[in-house]
Symmetry: C3
Subunit: 137 residues, 3 copies
């Protein structure tokens, strides 16, 4: 199974896409294997994060703003604004691909784990992810 999903992000921040992926898995009917998720961009990323307290994602955002300064004067690549180059580094930090085991036809996540699409640009954009499943063997 391979499927592309599109999202219109509302701007910088995280979007929980766990249920969307599980919905695709239900249609795929693969008992045991791997689910790969890929984002086709370099200033938005994918992140596994604690899913119970929204403050965790707010704290990740606060930490990222301190670790990678928007509009850092040392950056040469700034044509698209202060969130351009920082968006690239934040995407490398969190990652653009992830793989989760499929067990009994569903994502085998821990009870506190969610999968988030992380938009790093200030303004929202159309973002595409590609979901691919492979059977265990």
């Amino acid at each position: 199974m391979q499927k592309t999903l599109s999202y219109e992000t509302p701007g910088r921040g995280t979007l929980d896409i766990t249920a969307d992926i599980n919905r695709e898995l239900a249609a795929a009917a693969l008992t045991s294997g791997l689910c790969h998720v890929f984002i086709r961009h370099t200033s938005a990323s994918l992140m596994i994060c604690e899913n119970a307290d929204p403050c965790v994602r707010a704290d990740v955002e606060r930490w990222l703003q301190q670790a990678v300064h928007d509009g850092d004067p040392m950056f040469e690549h700034d044509m698209e604004g202060d969130d351009d180059m920082s968006g690239h580094i934040r995407s490398i930090f969190t990652g653009m691909d992830l793989t989760v085991p499929i067990t009994a036809g569903q994502l085998n996540l821990g009870v506190w784990q969610g999968i988030y699409l992380y938009e790093h640009r200030y303004r929202g954009r159309r973002r595409e992810i590609v979901i691919t499943t492979v059977a265990a063997g």
Copy 2:
């Protein structure tokens, strides 16, 4: 093949799990493919790291403590203590899933590479990893 392994971590620090994974691969008898390892938690992670000099892991730990301050006052999520929010960010940094090629039935790691379970909480906990193999094709 898909298998869950449990570990009781002794507290913050790294545990070499390379041999455990190779033992499961020996039982699986898959010549060529991929071995995926996933940790079902958000304050413990998986890391490929130099395996010869224990100082390397000690230096990674030192660097992480400077990069992500335990008990940073800017963190809102602090109910479980100073190592709670920093544990989440450290886990995102090192990653919760990794995939290694299987060649001739074993992990095709470089000679200096080991796979480590990284506990980020001060106190030890029970941690589960899921190993899944898929055949090349």
Copy 3:
């Protein structure tokens, strides 16, 4: 399909290996699935990054030099020089494995995404990557 490629890196910096991987995929003739790339080292890594403006990779390098100081006096592991321990941390940051969907026989990257081998040591070295494909299912 599983294939090992070797590179002689010219020293610290990035090498675009996207076309090399697509060339191997053309030979493999797999329509839909996953392409896994793995680097068998701990001071060189793999990175998906913006591929249009070389300043982006120069800015990533600048940021890494500020985030992980070469020759940081707190590092104990320094036998091979100032770029030894920082190389290990930079490799963990960017990652040693990545997986990209295969669609219509080619890497299904976004239009601005390239795959880079990132050498973190000052002096060039021989580096090996392992490419493995698996079929969707």
